[in-house]
């Protein structure tokens, strides 16, 4: 075997080796993905399996004894439909409210000139270091004094301000050239028109990222409603789920699973439809924090 042949053979085998390595990485990735999804698949399959077969071991990975009884029980045991509506209402109010207050404030910080503007902005940024877990006690006392405990107002009013949203939108507005507005200003457009007709239409992806991020946080929050709410018919979904499992001694695990699946399956469908934009939104909001 000549030296050239040996080099060629070695190169060929290293190319084959790297192709093998690439397949191996893909296979490992696929195994991880399957393992990650397995608990969710188990949740859904268990929730539609007859209670006496639901937790048999090994699990019935292909459901043979299908029933919707557990779903019916979960809606009987707690006012789950009302709780889902509560979550939808609170999330909608918070998302729209945060987008509105953030847009207005971001415009002021990016475009208006007034004394103390940058100082005030810095004061706002301090809020990023003060999480709700610290302000919860005074806000709880405030809500109690105002008689707002156990109401929906106590869930959305304190989180209507999003300093992150202001920061994020301000950065975006600063990146848009002033010339965009000059023509409108000559035509006599005021700040509100400039914001709503020129800047915001150019901020689609940013607003979408903010909306996805804030909807996710609000929809999934457990800490805050767990403190503010005590009546089952005022609860949001996460608190309702835990209440179903722990608050009423006796909801069987399958019923809890059915309740979790009731909110997880629509989320999964929504995610599969809008996967690209949801992941891009989360990445965008995440990277700029």
């Amino acid at each position: 075997m000549s030296a050239t042949e040996r080099v060629l053979r070695r190169r060929r085998s290293s190319i084959q080796g790297s192709r093998l390595a690439r397949y191996a990485v893909t296979i490992v990735l696929a195994v991880i993905a399957i393992l990650m999804f397995l608990p969710i698949y188990w949740l859904i399959v268990t929730s539609i399996t007859e209670p006496e077969h639901a937790f048999s071991l090994p699990p019935e990975w292909f459901p043979l004894h299908i029933t919707s009884a557990s779903y019916a029980s979960s809606f009987d045991l707690i006012p789950f439909a009302v709780q889902i509506m509560n979550s939808i209402e609170v999330t909608t109010i918070v998302v729209i409210g945060q987008l509105l207050t953030s847009s207005l404030a971001a415009y002021a910080f990016a475009r208006l000139k007034f004394r103390g503007r940058d100082g005030l902005f810095t004061v706002f940024l301090v809020a990023l270091m003060v999480p709700l877990q610290v302000t919860v006690i005074p806000i709880f006392i405030l809500m109690r004094t105002l008689g707002l405990l156990d109401t929906q107002v106590s869930l959305w009013l304190p989180v209507l301000l999003s300093v992150f949203g202001i920061f994020f939108l301000r950065q975006h507005f600063l990146s848009l050239p002033d010339e965009l507005e000059d023509a409108a200003k000559i035509d006599g457009a005021g700040h509100w028109r400039i914001l709503f007709q020129i800047l915001l239409p150019l901020s689609g992806p940013i607003l979408a990222a903010l909306a996805i991020f804030s909807a996710l946080v609000t929809w999934n929050d457990f800490f805050w409603p767990n403190i503010m709410i005590t009546s089952p018919d005022k609860m949001t979904v996460p608190v309702g789920l835990v209440f179903l499992q722990a608050g009423l001694s006796g909801a069987p695990a399958v019923v809890v699973f059915a309740a979790i699946a009731t909110v997880t399956i629509p989320l999964l469908v929504l995610f599969l439809i809008a996967q690209e934009s949801i992941m891009r939104g989360i990445a965008l909001a995440g990277v700029s924090r």
């Binding site: 608990p39 188990w42 207050t101 404030a105 002021a108 270091m129 919860v136 005074p138 209507l160």
Partner: protein, 281 residues
Amino acid sequence: MLSPSVLLYIAFVAMPLVAAITLSFFKWDLLTAPQFAGLANFVELATDGTTFRAIGNTFLFAIATVIFHMVGGLLLAIALNRPLNRLLRKVLSAAIFFPVLMSWAAVSLIWRYALDPNFGFVNYYLKQLGLTPPNWFADASSAMPSLIGIDVWHSLGYTMVILLAGLQSIPPTLYEAARLDGAGPVRQFWSVTVPLLSPTLLFASIISFVGAFQIFDPMFIITKGGPDNSTLSVVQDVYYSAFRDFDMGYASAKSLIIVAVILIVTMLQLRLSKRWVNYDK
């Protein structure tokens, strides 16, 4: 235009922060009048073994999850950033990312049952493989590692997506140049990927740490902080003082620990990002 935000800021950030600091000098059970207590709450805090335990637990949780998120998220992001079939990439990233969208409440309940010693499927398969499953949440030695594992399952996709965005912003010409200079994949990783990704890595570890330091839900829902306070988190400790013991002053004093830690970490971030992070692009 600023007035709604300024009003909300005063009502729900500034005043509560000042109130929390003020309250930390008082004793108040919400029923009788608040009583000035001087530094009593802080003296109590300095000798409170439970709170120290909670601080230790929370640091352990936060540091461990940050390490797993960064290493795991980076490996997954690199694996997904290779040339792959589009549909395959979509399916794989969807499966890994989806848990991020679920609430901690749902995640905690699912894993509580999945790791149940009697009817959980995890123990069943571990036994099939001839392994002895740990007692998961029932042992003080395995409860915290179990919670850390659940967090990695829940939030790994978040770190992955952020790092993936970081990887995609590295210009491919740099890799071409490195290849022409004879750099192999390992050399490319250390000489191109790591330095150019370092701002994203630093940033992702900071938000991951700050988020993890405020952990509450899984401890509250699954372990109640036990067994033997081995999973009690700082926020949970504050919660129990305020809403179980109705000791508002003491709870406020404890909650200031969270502000202090976030403040220190943020300062550290600013320092570090000046010193070793490569922002040249």
